[in-house]
């Protein structure tokens, strides 16, 4: 297939990586959106496993692309683009990413403070929930009573963050082993 005449653009390695990882993240995001949740606002957030993998294998830029594309395309597919759900999701993703990138940078600068996927995941999950809660509380439902829910939501974030961190750890480990055995074809 011919590219447009004025385009010299060729996707580089980062583009391909971003595309592949974002596709996986979006698939998980959409699947997860289909599951009913017992409490509104609580879901496992397994798509963040992909963000973590992107961050730990390919760095901050790749992770930012993967997280951003997931929120955008995920919301288009689910049909929540520009609805309150989308803004909550976007705020959560941005808060989580800022904390994630900061923790990652600190870990690189000071090896003693380096976190594995588990620590990063828990931090990101808590930041996600806190950011989301702040928007829900200040923009959509400015009611003091909502804060009664905060401990429950944060506890859920802690547990689910731990869970997806452990999943990410296993995924990273498996990917590394596949790479060491080239006949397996990599990923």
């Amino acid at each position: 297939m011919a590219l447009p005449a004025d385009s010299d653009y060729r996707p580089d390695a980062l583009d391909r990586r971003v595309a592949g990882l974002a596709a996986v993240a979006i698939a998980i995001h959409v699947l997860e959106a289909g599951f009913p949740s017992p409490v509104p606002g609580i879901k496992p957030g397994l798509a963040n496993v992909v963000t973590l993998v992107a961050l730990l294998r390919h760095g901050v830029a790749c992770a930012a692309w993967v997280a951003g594309l997931r929120v955008l395309v995920g919301s288009l597919l689910v049909g929540s683009f520009l609805t309150p759900t989308f803004w909550l999701s976007a705020t959560g993703a941005v808060s989580a990413f800022v904390v994630l990138a900061a923790a990652y940078a600190v870990g690189r600068a000071v090896p003693a403070l380096r976190l594995s996927a588990v620590g990063l995941s828990v931090l990101a999950a808590m930041a996600h929930m806190t950011g989301q809660f702040m928007v829900a509380w200040t923009v959509f439902l400015p009611h003091a009573g909502l804060t009664v829910l905060l401990p429950v939501l944060l506890a859920a974030a802690l547990v689910f963050g731990l869970a997806s961190g452990l999943v990410a750890l296993r995924v990273l480990d498996r990917m590394q082993r596949l790479e060491r055995a080239p006949e397996a074809g990599g990923y």
Partner: protein, 119 residues
């Protein structure tokens, strides 16, 4: 997992515990209940006085009962009846809300102050 992981997870667990303590500690029995329609306070009632209220919401009439220092939704035209399942509210600051119908009630008095995060 690294040692820093463990430290971070424990610290965050402490934060969650602290938020929970701040939220649930020092809550005390309410003295009044405020009824809201679409964020606007439309009435305040003494919770010691037994009352059977009917309140018009966005999609229909809801029934709110007040007695023995407590208040609750008992009937609502909404689909999922979350407000009814929230049951009796009796502590200062406690809330029962019906989002589809745009109605909520909040217990007042006692210690309605929240923690640093809330205020």
């Amino acid at each position: 997992m690294t040692r820093a992981d463990v430290v971070v997870i424990l610290l965050l667990a402490v934060v969650v515990g602290w938020v929970a303590m701040a939220q649930w500690q020092g809550r005390s029995t309410a003295t009044a209940v405020a009824i809201y329609r679409g964020g606007e306070r439309i009435a305040v009632h003494d919770v010691q006085q037994r009352q059977r209220l009917t309140v018009e919401g966005r999609i229909g009439t809801a029934h709110i009962h007040i007695e023995d220092g407590r208040a609750r939704f008992v009937q609502s035209p909404c689909q999922r009846k979350v407000c009814i399942h929230m049951g009796w509210q009796q502590y200062g600051g406690a809330v029962a809300a019906c989002v589809p119908n745009g109605l909520s009630l909040q217990m007042l008095g006692g210690s309605t102050t929240f923690d640093g995060i809330a205020s």
